[in-house]
């Protein structure tokens, strides 16, 4: 059975510096909006103006990115290969890390050739005491840009930017439901692995919950964490793990539930896997009147449109103003928004001044100057020189 987490000694330089900067620590916490101590508040009122227009954080971040609270970062301290093209990255988060709940996912900013790309991965380690490491398990998508980089080309010492942990697909606070069912497929196991490891490490004052895991994978070699979960199931009387190998047994359909887990109807259920499985489960649970006992988590992938300049535009939604409009592919989003009555930031209208930047919520855009398709959630879009490439939403 693989060791889950071998505590790795922290980088001595970073730790001693962090200790030295304990005073400054409180300042930056105040700066990042956390509850300050009175001493910290007074000290920050004195020190912050000295760094103006920057913050003390900007200087600490130069010494070690992990000292930055404003732009949280983590350092990879171990890369462990898992089955078939997947690896677990063990990450020591820096000062800005605010912790997570079991089952949440983590936005990770990865720098590749100077450009930062953001992706989200489920956290596979239990919630930690401050200063401990966390893990994500990444499967390399063939043809992908970020996941193969993380799996194959990430070394110890690599610094990753970390967003705040997100997602409601989590273990409930105490008390836990007495009976739980986890249905997962492929890399859908990752958030559930985080939950099971959390449960496995917990001491229950009363009776432990009864937990059933039904996991689908093409074959045993593709079953992430198989040995570890089998070991847990052997050790913990309240956990049972069933694997379904689709290459030989075919796909799991909800109609199998009656055989695989006869009391599925009464269990609080967590499901994570491909859309087809989740959709079928949602219908099945709803038809049985158990819809409120089913929680699903979907891994959304931004659809990539073909590099075809004749591709149609799409419907644009302006999140904050609640306006929606049809956009043709060749019209700048700035003009689409203005025509729809949205108050748009604007500037030179030629792609020069960067006055018209708006964050993209989802979807893709096309640079009208080059025809290039781009756009990732959170990316700032120059609305005067980008048109819609399919449906999209802007944070405006």
């Amino acid at each position: 059975m693989p060791v889950l987490r071998a505590p790795t000694p922290s980088m001595p330089s970073a730790r001693s510096l962090a200790a030295l900067l304990g005073f400054a620590d409180r300042l930056a916490e105040w700066g990042s909006g956390r509850v300050p101590t009175v001493a910290g508040r007074i000290a920050s009122a004195l020190v912050n103006p000295l760094a103006s227009p920057l913050a003390p954080d900007d200087y600490f971040g130069l010494i070690d990115p992990l000292l930055s609270a404003r732009h949280p970062a983590g350092r990879v301290v171990a890369v462990r290969p898992e089955c078939a093209g997947a690896a677990t990255l063990e990450i020591r988060p820096g000062r800005g890390w605010a912790g997570h709940r079991a089952g949440q996912y983590l936005p990770v900013g990865v720098e590749i050739d100077g450009v930062r790309h953001w992706r989200t991965y489920s956290i596979t380690s239990p919630p930690e005491a401050p200063g401990r490491t966390l893990t994500i398990t990444v499967k390399a998508e063939p043809g992908g840009r970020v996941s193969p980089h993380l799996v194959h080309r990430t070394r110890c010492g690599t610094v990753l930017r970390l967003g705040p942990a997100q997602g409601e697909f989590t273990l409930p606070e105490d008390p836990l439901p007495p009976r739980m069912l986890m249905v997962t497929a492929g890399s859908g196991i990752t958030p559930v692995a985080g939950m099971l490891r959390t449960l496995a490490g917990r001491r229950f004052s009363g009776p432990a919950p009864d937990v059933v895991l039904l996991h689908s994978a093409p074959g045993p070699d593709e079953f992430l964490f198989r040995a570890e979960l089998a070991g847990l199931a052997a050790r913990l009387p309240w956990l049972s793990v069933h694997a379904r190998y689709t290459r030989t047994a075919g796909r799991l359909v909800p109609e199998h539930m009656g055989v695989l887990c006869p009391d599925w109807y009464d269990r609080e259920t967590w499901a994570c896997g491909p859309d087809g499985l989740l959709d079928a489960m949602s219908r099945h649970w709803a038809a049985a009147g158990a819809g409120e006992r089913l929680r699903v988590e979907r891994f959304r992938l931004t659809p990539v449109l073909p590099q075809d300049s004749d591709a149609p535009g799409g419907r644009v939604r302006f999140e904050h103003s609640g306006v929606e409009a049809d956009a043709s592919a060749g019209v700048p989003l700035l003009e689409t928004g203005e025509a729809a009555g949205v108050v748009m930031p604007y500037g030179c209208r030629r792609g020069i001044c960067f006055g018209c930047l708006v964050p993209l919520v989802h979807g893709r855009v096309r640079d009208l100057r080059t025809g290039e398709l781009h756009g990732e959630p959170g990316e700032l879009i120059q609305t005067c020189v980008n048109g819609a490439a399919g449906p999209l939403a802007l944070a405006l």
Binding site: R116, H117, L357
Partner: protein, 364 residues
Amino acid sequence: MSTTAVPVTPLESPEDHTELLGEELDRIRAEIVAARGAQDARYIRTVIAAQRGLETGGRAALAVSLFPPAWLAGTAMLTTAKILENMELGHNILHGQWDWMGDPAIHSTTWEWDFLTPADAWKHTHNHLHHTYTNVVGLDRDLGYTILRMSPDQPWHPVHLLQPLYTALLAPVFEWGIALYDLEADALPSGRKSARAFLGDLAGLARKAVRQAAKDYVLFPLLAGPSALPCLVGNVTANGLRNIWAHTVIFCGHFPGDVQTFSYEEEQLEGETRGQWYLRQIQGSANIEGGYLLHILTGNLSHQIEHHVFPDLPSNRYSELAPRVREICARHGITYVSGSLWRQYVSMWGRVLRHSVPDGSREP
């Protein structure tokens, strides 16, 4: 360069030349955009680290500046730090040159600089108005900053007789001049700017000015204890030298004698093609020749022509672009104004003096 669109028919008109120029420059731009990568990212982070190191060192030395060598070293380091901060970092990051990295800490929407005028106000007057209407009389307010007469097409007023004097006086307090200029008080009477917007900008400037002045002229001197006075003098000197340097670089980038000004109507600019726009940017700018250090300290605005042609390409690429742009200009018979700092400085002053008096042919 892989030129694929070489015309087989001879060029008939200046319009053909201009459009070909546009296509060639667009291709260069696309090449650089495709080539941007880890090396460029490392460059800007190195400059940031050097600037913050110099600033920290300068502040530390000025804290013990009763000791004269510490004053000299501290003032030199702080001046260099402020110049790097304004030119290579602030100016270029606020242009969006580094937005492609996706680093929120080095981004045009989040960067604030160690300069009196707030970044937002400056991005409007500089990135938008100046870079769109470069050297167009009546539209580019940077053409003389509303107080100087830099073109025969600008009307002469007796006050312009004093412009050599106030040009010289402006240099050491340049950041205050720019901050007041960015308020666009001159746009109030015409209604181009509302009173409400003006007051909002004024409040923004006041907030920034208080922070800036408090830091350099109150807090750091107080912290220096017995060295308070030399520390204060060092900070004033650093800001003043930075201002004189910024004034010099900016004036040498647009006002040497050979640089053209344009008298277009705004409607004419509406229909301006990409080639015509590039041509106006080239003809309205001037380069300063020098070594690596000069380029760094000017924030690569020594490559003012390349900057105006490609304002959003990373500044560290301008020096590799300059020979190519120059070659294209030579081929199309376009004047490319370039000279040593000394030559451009003298030429710029010639222009200030020449236009301080009314033109013979245009006397009212």
